[in-house]
């Protein structure tokens, strides 16, 4: 029997740092005093070692809490800021999640509504019981200093697990329109967006296109506007969701918070992020209307079910917001995003060339943090080796794959290193012991200087280990971050 298609699970990841908009504006006010009105609150910024792939991995791990990963049969990653143009970014995510090799994967890009469009495809394809499709959205936009986008954008990722059976939110239908409305664009090779006048975008784009699409969607789906419990319009411009709700005849209290005050607008990931936030708050039986906007409009309607209450606890948006730490170091962020050059010294000159053969051979260890467990003694080790790490036993060829990524760990030794090159000095690293066995020396991330000691509980996160700037290649690996 095939059940209703819908959302089985959700997850989110927002990087820990919250750049204070006042700090940005105080640096740029001499040039752009008119941005004073936006210089309130904070936006999420990824650290130097994060990008849309690493954020997508974290959102996916959160989404898959409580689910058997073997159920995932496809993965879609939506973003307009993926690190690779021609290397399957969702393929990296798949390896990090140690999903089965026999799954489909696709990167969806090119528009701010890439994620909602991918979601519609996944929902319409959700027919087979038990199978699940992982839809991820992740965005980290680069903005010019002293731009509006710099203040309003935010870095974040979110995930939705789609399937049939017992969804937490049933899919009631969707409506799409496609029109080449160029409110902004970024041509191939461009680093930054080029945008048109905001008044025109508000009138013709938001009021005109989204307004009409919402109306048409409700008519098609035969739902009264007042029956909508949550309206999600992922637009950061002040008052736009409220204006659209009013025009469509929806209740003012149905308008979902856009998270602009603490996160910023996360581009293609924003619809998923806001949907995840809505699902966190919703009770069973609520109707959620989700819009995506970009050269047209996607509108999707969901109804939450009783299964929502059985969903395993997760970090989600709420937990991600709670992890936030204030950051006023605007210069550091510009450097991390490659907008500002610093004298990094000769130690930064180490060649980071990544031999493709080695990455292929060790892809499970590198991307999936797969070590090994001795089938005779149960001893866990990283990395895997032919002869067991325990020299007393001297057992050869007894090891089985053993993934350490989801294991908690504790700090055994640590330091804060000012000498080695790090884009975010000092470099914290040390030795950790995993619960259930296994030990490794590893870099630490997301650390506050006062929050590190022998015995500190840590968890693993997928991060950028290094960048080969000569050949434009990103090397990923896992780092330990404090459990917050």
């Amino acid at each position: 029997m095939s059940g209703d298609p819908g959302i089985l699970s959700f997850g989110a990841y927002i990087p820990r740092k919250r750049l204070q908009r006042a700090a940005v504006h105080s640096a740029n006010a001499w040039f752009a005093p008119s941005l004073a009105g936006l210089a309130k609150g904070e936006r999420a910024i990824g650290d130097w070692d994060e990008d849309t792939v690493t954020m997508a991995v974290e959102a996916a791990r959160d989404t898959l809490v409580g689910f058997d990963r073997a159920r995932v049969k496809s993965i879609a990653l939506a973003s307009t800021t993926l690190p690779f143009n021609d290397r399957l970014n969702s393929g990296i995510v798949k390896e990090a999640l140690t999903l089965a090799d026999s799954i489909a994967a696709i990167d969806v890009t090119g528009s701010q509504r890439a994620a909602t469009s991918a979601l519609i495809q996944a929902l319409r394809g959700a027919v087979s019981d038990g199978d699940a499709q992982l839809c991820l959205a992740s965005e980290m936009r680069k903005s010019l200093p002293a731009s509006e986008s710099e203040l309003l954008s935010g870095d974040a990722a979110a995930g939705l697990l789609i399937g049939s059976g017992e969804p937490i939110a049933r899919f009631l239908g969707a409506h799409s329109v496609t029109m080449d409305f160029v409110d902004h664009y970024r041509s191939a090779g461009m680093q930054f967006d080029y945008g048109w006048e905001s008044r025109w975008i508000r009138d013709e784009g938001y009021t005109g296109l989204i307004g009409a699409a919402l109306k048409d969607a409700l008519a098609q789906l035969r739902v009264e506007p007042a029956a909508i419990d949550r309206l999600i319009v992922p637009i950061a411009a002040r008052g736009v969701p409220e204006m659209l709700a009013q025009r469509a005849g929806m209740r003012p209290e149905s308008v979902a918070n856009t998270l602009v005050a603490h996160v910023g607008e996360a581009g293609a990931a924003h619809p998923f992020l806001l949907l995840a936030a809505a699902l966190e708050q919703a009770k069973p039986g609520e109707k959620i209307l989700l819009a995506g906007f970009g050269q047209g409009v996607d509108v999707l309607l969901f109804e939450t079910t009783q299964a929502l209450q059985k969903l395993a606890p997760r970090r989600g948006v709420k937990g991600s917001l709670a992890r936030g730490i204030k950051d006023s170091n605007y210069m550091r962020w510009l450097f991390h995003r490659g907008i500002l050059e610093l004298d990094r010294g000769m130690r930064a000159e180490l060649d980071q060339k990544q031999p493709g053969t080695v990455l292929w051979r060790h892809r499970k260890a590198v991307l999936g943090l797969v070590g090994a467990r001795c089938s005779k003694t149960g001893a866990v080790q990283f990395p895997r080796s032919d002869i067991s790490v325990s020299p007393d036993e001297h057992l050869a060829h007894t090891q089985e794959d053993y993934c350490l990524a989801e294991r908690k760990a504790r700090v055994v030794t640590y330091t804060a290193d000012n000498l080695t090159y790090s884009p975010n000095p000092p470099a914290y690293y040390g030795m950790i012991d995993f619960e259930g066995g296994g030990r490794m020396t590893v870099e630490f991330a997301d650390l506050s200087p006062e929050d590190i000691e022998v015995g500190r509980e840590m968890q693993m996160m997928f991060r950028i280990k290094g960048v080969d700037e000569k050949r434009d290649f990103i090397k990923y690996f896992w780092k330990a971050v404090p459990v917050v």
Partner: protein
């Protein structure tokens, strides 16, 4: 355990360059400088050398592969020359080659030379380098101070020592070595420092400040070894022999959770020390060892090494340090020549430099820093790698008739 080589090999001559920023010298100039002192001390001719070993740590800014650079620099006479590399223990490793050649009878006279030209990198500290393509993807490439600083965090946690107490003990290690180095004309750093300066220096890798770190230097050191009989035949009166030479390499045990290593000490040093004491017939090291040169790349390394060599009780080394046990006038002086801290640390040369000092001290030739109590057995400890994975070399030399 094998019978060992106690008293089967004698040191015929030694040499050591001034360590430091030798802007005017290439590696081969440094090799010649150390060699000329050693061969003059040995009183032999180049043609009498049967085999040679060269210890070098870093290739990138140095001499490139093989033993050929040594053969060419010294114009050795068509003998086998082997280059060895074992991290910062490469110097002692080169001596092991020469000593084993003599002990086995394969060579009558053999030469060991360690050299390092580090000051052509363009920056302070050791060159940043790869540890292999696989390691670079999953391993950690911190700085040397960062790797060793972790000893301190684990030592504090294991022995419940406060941050302040440990920092003061570490500072004492460095103050002592600076005082000793000031008396050594060949030392890289010859300025005494006080506790306040050490404690308030900029942080390099927590909790190691600038003065907790050794100097990175250019330099070379050389040993010429033979059998005691040949040495006597060449007219040598006071003979210094190898009492023990042990090297132990990590096999990954430290990085196994179940093994029980807690990050606060050197497993390999404990193993190598036990074997060396056994080889040398030493059962009361604190009383029998006259002086020590240990691998004080960082103050914390020296501190925990005193425990690993069984010269302090476990967890008590920091107190012994503060009590002055290892000062030049203490019961077991450590780094009477200034150590890596002040004599300097040209990687490949350091192990031989330690033995050079022990050799001079045993023969009463150490000048103003000569230990007044005549030493009879001297230990050197030469370490390579990092606490979690390393190679530890312990050499004990002494007067032949002791």
């Amino acid at each position: 355990m094998a019978r060992g080589i106690k008293d089967r090999v004698a040191i015929l001559g030694m040499g050591c360059t001034k360590f430091g920023e030798r802007w005017d010298k290439d590696a081969d100039n440094l090799m010649v400088e150390a060699y000329e002192e050693a061969i003059a001390d040995a009183g032999i001719d180049t043609s009498q050398i049967d085999a040679a070993w060269l210890g070098v740590g870093f290739d990138a800014v140095n001499i490139g592969p093989s033993g050929i650079p040594l053969a060419v620099a010294l114009r050795l006479s068509d003998i086998g020359v082997t280059k060895v590399e074992n991290y910062c223990a490469s110097g002692t490793e080169s001596l092991r080659g020469a000593v084993y050649a003599v002990a086995s009878g394969a060579a009558d006279i053999a030469l060991a030379l360690g050299v390092e030209k580090l000051k052509d990198t363009g920056y302070g500290g050791l060159p940043v380098r790869s540890r292999g393509t696989t390691f670079d993807m999953i391993g950690l490439t911190g700085s040397a101070p960062g790797n060793f600083a972790q000893l301190a965090s684990a030592y504090r946690a294991t022995h419940r020592v406060s941050k302040d107490d440990l920092k003061r003990a570490m500072a004492h290690v460095s103050v002592k070595s600076h005082a000793n180095g000031a008396k050594n004309p060949k030392a890289h750093l010859r300025k005494p420092v006080d506790m306040e300066t050490v404690l308030n220096a900029p942080m390099i890798a927590e909790p190691l400040g600038l003065f907790d770190c050794c100097g990175v230097s250019d330099g070379a050191a050389c040993a010429i070894v033979t059998t005691p009989d040949i040495a006597r035949g060449l007219g040598k009166k006071n003979i210094v022999t190898i009492k023990a030479l042990q090297i132990c390499s990590s096999n990954g045990w430290e990085l196994q959770q179940g093994g029980g290593w807690n990050g606060s000490y050197f497993h390999t040093t404990r193993v190598a020390a036990k074997r060396a004491y056994e080889e040398a017939g030493i059962n009361r090291p604190r009383e029998q060892i006259s002086l020590t040169e240990v691998h004080d790349c960082f103050s914390i390394t020296e501190l925990v090494t005193m425990e690993d060599l069984f010269l302090s009780d476990e967890g008590k080394g920091w107190r012994d340090v503060l009590d002055g046990v290892f000062d030049a006038d203490g019961s077991v002086p450590c780094q009477i020549d200034g150590g890596l801290k002040c004599f300097g640390h040209p990687i490949g040369a350091s192990g031989l430099r330690m033995i050079y000092e022990n050799y001079l001290q045993l023969l009463g030739r150490a000048g103003p820093r000569q230990r007044r109590t005549p030493p009879s057995l001297a230990l050197s400890h030469n370490l390579g790698g990092m606490p979690s994975q390393n190679v530890s070399a312990v050499a004990i030399v002494g007067l032949a008739d002791v």
